[in-house]
């Protein structure tokens, strides 16, 4: 099969390694059946409404505000996760301190901890009578059942993405460049902002985009802590669930399609950033 494929398939460059047909075919079949076919069913269902129908669903004020909450809060949360994620990654790779490895392991907790478990734990912590919520209440911040709650849940699930995308690159930075910069008289701050940071930007952006994409779609950990008020703290995935319990399959599919399109664009953007940085800096 390899022999029949290899010679003149233009779309692939020749190679002595076998198995392209088998693995490519298998991967594509799985991808098609598990991901593309169901997603196509979704888009087909939504397109039954027509483009104008989808736009009408999206411009419904309640849907629009839910999308705004999901994307807006996720943007802020991804930003915060990126800043602190960078800090955490920097501290973990550059400094030595007791318990560093433990802290390093902790970063992956949101990857491994189920979202529903995280949701009830966060809700009981940040509720007005919870451990943290009580303290926040004293300084006038209402966390749970407001958009702040959504923000907290989104930072929780987005943080590991932000840390893990920059961490390996910080580890790879060539110290000699920093030494050179310092030798040439640059202050530490100037070295950091002018020499160290620029090559890391693509990775930071990638982490940001991943955290953002996860936050936008997150459901399990948020509904317990969000308050779910229309126009205030109602997230788009919840609105899909609501549409489903209203038996409005078309509406649910339309919101899902809008979210899907934005996810796809975000991912495409990430891959473009990575391709660009590969050209620009020679690594991802």
């Amino acid at each position: 099969m390899v022999e029949t494929l290899r010679p003149r398939r233009r779309f692939r460059q020749p190679s002595v390694i076998p198995g392209f047909g088998l693995t490519f075919g298998y991967a594509l079949t799985c991808l098609g059946l598990v991901v593309l076919l169901p997603l196509a069913a979704l888009v087909a269902r939504a397109s039954g409404l027509g483009l104008s129908g989808i736009l009408e669903v999206a411009s419904d004020p309640r849907v629009a505000s839910a999308l705004k909450v999901s994307f807006g809060v996720s943007l802020v949360a991804a930003l915060v996760a990126s800043v602190f994620g960078f800090l955490v990654a920097w501290v973990l790779t550059r400094y030595r301190f007791p318990g560093r490895r433990l802290v390093d392991a902790v970063v992956d907790l949101p990857f491994a901890l189920p979202t529903a478990v995280a949701g009830i734990a966060l809700a009981s912590l940040y509720a007005p009578n919870g451990l943290v919520g009580e303290q926040l209440e004293k300084i006038g911040i209402k966390a749970a059942y407001t958009p702040v709650g959504i923000f907290i849940a989104m930072v929780f699930i987005g943080l590991p993405f932000a840390v893990r995308t920059v961490q390996p690159l910080i580890a790879e930075i060539d110290k000699e460049i920093e030494e050179a910069s310092a030798t040439l008289g640059a202050t530490r701050w100037r070295t950091l902002t002018r020499v160290v940071l620029p090559p890391l930007i693509p990775a930071v952006l990638t982490g940001f985009a991943l955290a953002f994409a996860r936050g936008v779609g997150e459901y399990g950990s948020i509904i317990f802590i969000a308050g779910n008020l229309p126009y205030v703290s109602e997230i788009a995935p919840l609105l899909i669930v609501i549409k489903l319990s209203e038996f409005d399959y078309g509406g649910a599919a339309a919101i899902a399609t809008i979210m899907l399109a934005i996810s796809f664009l975000t991912l495409l953007l990430i891959n473009l950033i990575q391709a660009w940085s590969r050209r620009r800096f020679g690594y991802v």
Binding site: D60, P61, R62, A123, S124, A127, P128, N129, G130, A144, Y145, I223, G227, N228, L229, P230, Y231, V232, E234, L238, V241, I242, L244, S245, E246, F247, D248, G251
Partner: protein
């Protein structure tokens, strides 16, 4: 790192993993038995646990057959949605008639005249909405009017996803409408009340947790059974129940899913199950769980004593048929208009 002897551990662990996975996958997941599935709504978990056990004994004594009844719980609307999408429910016991209407309309698995096929319009029990307040009733909440006052925080579930939320909405609306017979005024009252809602949980259970466990809000309009359950679970020393002078006649109906029982061959057992709900034994269990039994004489006196006589209105008498009532909650309906106007 690519020397040959090092291949083994990797391969072995992979193979072991796969073998283990295969074993687990082959383990029998479900055993065959005569099982009925009752798709119900959120707050009936404790109730149907008792009912289902009692029915299994009753049926065994009556016919000699072993039947187990499984239950599924969730928001009434999403439960109806799963039946529409193909859950093998033999009977549905949902929170509001319009959810069963939706199944009948969208799938024809239930005939449109389902309410006529059971005694008492498919209502083995009913309930009403009362107020759960903090101990000592610090805000002095007595009647529905108080819920729309500016400094009151009301915890109620989202009427779009929760049947309990819809009953609360309808109760508030019905209260205002019976007073003035003016739909516009009733709309304005309900709009004012929902401005006092800081959290809209997706299910009645979520709202109770928010109110009782998280300490949010001054009042939780809830069904009697739910209010008493909070007493039992969270302690009587923390809450009081306030019974308003008038409230709604809440109707959680039951129906047979004809298409499913005929396919599964469980019609006899499923019909037996629904009939059982109207027996004295089941009626006493309803009262024990603080629901209002359709046959009061079957219930124990001390259980009935907890369910005071209050003036109940039927929402059908005020808003016409259930098709019209449901329109309040449809996309762009009254609830949407009010929450839009409220922001």
């Amino acid at each position: 790192m690519s020397t040959r002897h090092e291949t083994k551990p990797g391969r072995r662990s992979l193979l072991t993993g796969l073998a283990l996975a295969a074993c687990l996958a082959a383990a029998p997941a479900m055993a065959a038995e005569t099982a009925l599935l009752n798709v119900s709504y959120d707050p009936t978990r404790e109730l149907y646990r008792d009912i289902n056990t009692a029915f299994a004994e009753y049926w065994k004594a009556k016919t000699g057959e072993t039947v187990t009844v499984r239950a599924s719980h969730g928001g009434s609307g999403s439960q109806a949605r799963t039946v529409i999408d193909g859950v093998d429910a033999d009977v549905v016991t949902l929170g509001i008639p319009s959810d069963i209407d939706a199944i009948a309309k969208l799938t024809k698995k239930i005939p449109a005249d389902w309410r006529q096929r059971q005694p008492n319009e498919g209502l083995p029990y009913t309930s009403t909405v009362v107020f759960l307040v903090r101990k000592g009733n610090p805000k002095g909440i007595k009647d529905w009017d108080d819920l729309a006052k500016p400094d009151i925080k009301v915890i109620t579930p989202n009427p779009k996803t929760s049947a309990g939320g819809r009953w609360n909405f309808l109760a508030a609306w019905g209260y205002a409408y019976t007073k003035d017979k003016d739909a516009e005024k009733a709309n304005a009252f309900v709009g004012q009340l929902y401005k006092n809602v800081p959290v809209l949980d997706t299910g009645a259970r979520g709202s109770t947790v928010t109110f009782a466990q998280r300490g949010l809000g001054d009042v939780l309009p809830a069904w009697e059974n739910e209010a008493f359950l909070v007493f039992d679970e969270f302690g009587r020393d923390k809450f009081d129940i306030v019974v308003p002078p008038t409230s709604i006649y809440a109707e959680p109906p039951v129906a047979l899913v004809d298409a499913n029982v005929d396919r599964k061959g469980t019609r006899k057992q499923a019909e037996g199950y629904l009939a059982f709900l109207y027996t004295d034994q089941a009626q006493a269990i309803f009262a024990k769980h603080h629901y209002r039994p359709s046959k009061r004489e079957a219930a124990k006196k001390e259980d009935l004593a907890l369910l005071p006589e209050i003036k109940l209105f039927k929402i059908e008498d005020l808003q016409g048929n259930w098709d019209d009532i449901q329109k309040n909650f449809d996309n762009g309906g009254l609830f949407d208009q009010l929450s839009k106007a409220g922001r």
